[in-house]
């Protein structure tokens, strides 16, 4: 049983037991931030290393978001450039079973539609192309031989990478134009001089190589000869295997509705109408599954960074028991001590987040420029990166800050 009465007014002699409203201890938020920053500046090396952990995670997240956004923007830009107003008409399944055929005059009928700007056909020929007559019959390297309208290239806005298109030579000469992939597989390079290929047991002169056609990738793999040559030499009847048509963009949907019935009025159900742009857009969308996986990995890196902060701060709390004791003696409440250590965790994580966002942004810009893509840095990704860093920092700081706040002032003062 002890009675202490310290600093009492001299005349009262301990008579006053009344409770008063003590002035409260306060910590100005600006001072709290200053404390946190000062605490870190004193341990620069350590703070830098833990911030780097966070920065790596955030940089990964931002770069993944930025690069996939740039990639998507690139696909959309390509679509924009190529136009989305293309339709492809192909024969579907016959009702009786087996493949259907498009009537030979389908092209003419489709061209009569008001909104249709251009139509061209290809017809698949039952012949093979080989690099030379010495190769066995089976070495076709996947090249398909097509009879192509002269208007095919302009309809699809395609370009010739080397040589020229079929319309430059009179119809009866045995000339062939190769798609980009077909030329590569067959080893045809017009820069090395005129080339001949063995097509349907005859020599054909390769006069042109096309640039890749993103909206008609099946042509990349094809060897195209004129309709006249095909009819003369291989008995081509003019029944198209694919009809490409370009329509007025504002009426593309209307054209799509009537295309099947126009191509084959008697069997509209046997006609397939597709829009190649849809397939491309769908491919851009499927990238997101992969992106999600990468985002998960970036998240794991961020988590590891957070554990690093927590780890270092637990040690820091042990080392700074003396400081904690002094601050408690100077009037800091548990909340103030907790706030100080939380701010330190947040400042470290925030600095890491800012650095990570900058690094991720640079990675995105560098990659997009190298790939010749438009640069897309989603603001949501940038802001989200910093926010994610702060959330991780707060979570990482909770435990060490709680330990610091729990220290009994009498014990803490004795330490250090």
């Amino acid at each position: 049983m002890s009675t202490l009465d310290a600093g009492t007014g001299s005349d009262e002699n301990g008579g006053s037991a009344g409770r008063r409203e003590w002035e409260r201890s306060v910590l100005d938020p600006r001072d709290a931030v200053r404390l946190g920053v000062l605490g870190l500046l004193g341990r620069r090396g350590r703070a830098l290393l833990t911030a780097i952990g966070i920065a790596i995670g955030i940089a990964a997240l931002v770069a993944i978001v930025g690069i996939s956004a740039s990639s998507r923007a690139n696909v959309l830009a390509v679509l924009d450039r190529l136009g989305t107003n293309y339709l492809t008409v192909t024969p579907g399944q016959a009702l009786a079973g087996g493949p259907a055929e498009l009537p030979a005059d389908a092209r003419r009928r489709l061209a009569h539609l008001d909104a249709v700007q251009a139509v061209a056909t290809t017809g698949q020929l039952d012949v093979t192309l080989r690099r030379s007559d010495q190769l066995p019959r089976t070495i076709t390297r996947g090249t398909v031989v097509l009879a192509a309208d002269p208007g095919l290239l302009t309809t699809l806005h395609g370009t010739v990478a080397a040589g020229h298109w079929l319309d430059a030579t009179p119809g009866s000469y045995p000339t062939v134009v190769l798609g980009a992939t077909a030329a590569r597989r067959q080893g045809v390079d017009l820069a090395l001089g005129p080339q001949m290929v063995w097509l349907g047991d005859q020599w054909f002169a390769a006069v042109g190589v096309l640039a890749p056609m993103p909206l008609a990738p099946e042509l990349d793999n094809a060897a195209m000869i004129g309709v006249g040559v095909a009819a003369d030499r291989f008995g081509y009847q003019g029944s198209p295997s694919t009809i490409y048509l370009r329509a007025d963009p504002s009426n593309i949907d209307a054209v799509r509705v009537v295309a099947a019935a126009t191509a084959d009025p008697r069997h509209p159900a046997q006609v397939q109408v597709t829009r190649p742009a849809d397939a491309l857009a769908a491919r851009a969308a499927t990238n997101t599954a992969f992106t999600t996986l990468l985002l998960g990995l970036g998240g794991v890196a961020l988590l590891v960074g957070g554990v690093g902060i927590a780890n270092v701060m637990v040690i820091s709390v042990l080392e700074r028991r003396g400081e904690i004791g002094v601050r408690r003696a100077l009037g800091a409440t548990r909340r103030h001590i907790r706030a100080q250590f939380l701010v330190e965790a947040l400042v470290q994580a925030g600095a890491g987040g800012v650095a990570g966002v900058a690094a991720g942004g640079c990675l995105t810009v560098g990659y997009a420029v190298a790939m010749d893509w438009p640069v897309r840095l989603p603001l949501l990704g940038l802001g989200g990166g910093i926010l994610a860093a702060l959330v991780v920092g707060a979570l990482a700081g909770i435990y060490p800050a709680a330990r610091a706040a729990r220290l009994a002032p009498a014990e803490a003062v004795r330490a250090g």
Partner: protein, 213 residues
């Protein structure tokens, strides 16, 4: 275990009391109680006239910050802060603005004779100077009571004597002081001595309060 038992002690405003005793005598427990760093299991502690019983952490912290000043044996300065910032830290939790804190801290440092060392860090100061910074930190908020725990324990005897004369000067200025020490010679500087042994006061507290206050 009972660290303190049957201790009844009143420190009056303006007094200088030394509490002396060997280690294990309960000095530290007494300091913790007087400093509101700890609360008693039984008994009453009144600081500046007000009972600490049943106060929560916020209230005890506010009490320490507003009515008490601490001087520790090992100074407990923050090594990364300058002298003036160390002293200003005592006003941080009182909600005083940064500029005003520094002003008052510089004033306090001048009062302990360190007016020319404001920007120095603890590592650049001698032990005696460090203890002066710590004393400035204890008095900057003009507390009702300054508690000094072995303030000369880490100093050589000459520097220790200088610190004691600083305490004497502060006491003359009206600062209420409680000095805790194991060194009877140091304790003799105070106007009143309490001897602690095994958690009890062995010599009765001076019965006659000094007149003229």
């Amino acid at each position: 275990m009972c660290a303190l038992d049957g201790v009844t002690l009143t420190v009056r405003r303006g007094e200088w009391v030394a509490i002396v005793g060997p280690s294990g005598s309960g000095k530290s427990s007494l300091l913790n109680l007087m400093g509101a760093l700890d609360v008693p299991t039984s008994g009453t502690v009144r600081i500046d006239g007000y009972d600490v019983a049943g106060r929560d952490d916020d209230e005890l912290s506010a009490l320490r910050g507003h009515t008490l000043g601490f001087v520790f044996q090992s100074f407990h300065l923050l090594s990364r802060l300058s002298a003036v910032d160390n002293v200003a830290a005592a006003l941080l939790y009182r909600g005083i603005g940064a500029a005003r804190r520094r002003e008052r801290a510089a004033e306090a440092l001048r009062r302990v004779g360190l007016g020319t060392r404001l920007r120095h860090r603890p590592a650049q100061l001698s032990g005696g100077e460090c203890q002066r910074v710590a004393i400035a930190r204890a008095i900057v908020g003009e507390p009702a009571l300054v508690l000094a725990d072995e303030p000369t324990g880490n100093l050589d005897s000459r520097t220790g004597a200088e610190i004691m004369s600083l305490f004497a000067a502060l006491h003359a200025d009206g600062v209420t002081l409680v000095l805790i020490t194991h060194d009877d010679a140091v304790a003799r500087a105070a106007e009143r001595r309490i001897v602690l042994r095994d958690g009890r006061v062995t010599s009765p507290p001076d019965a006659s309060p000094k007149p003229g206050r």
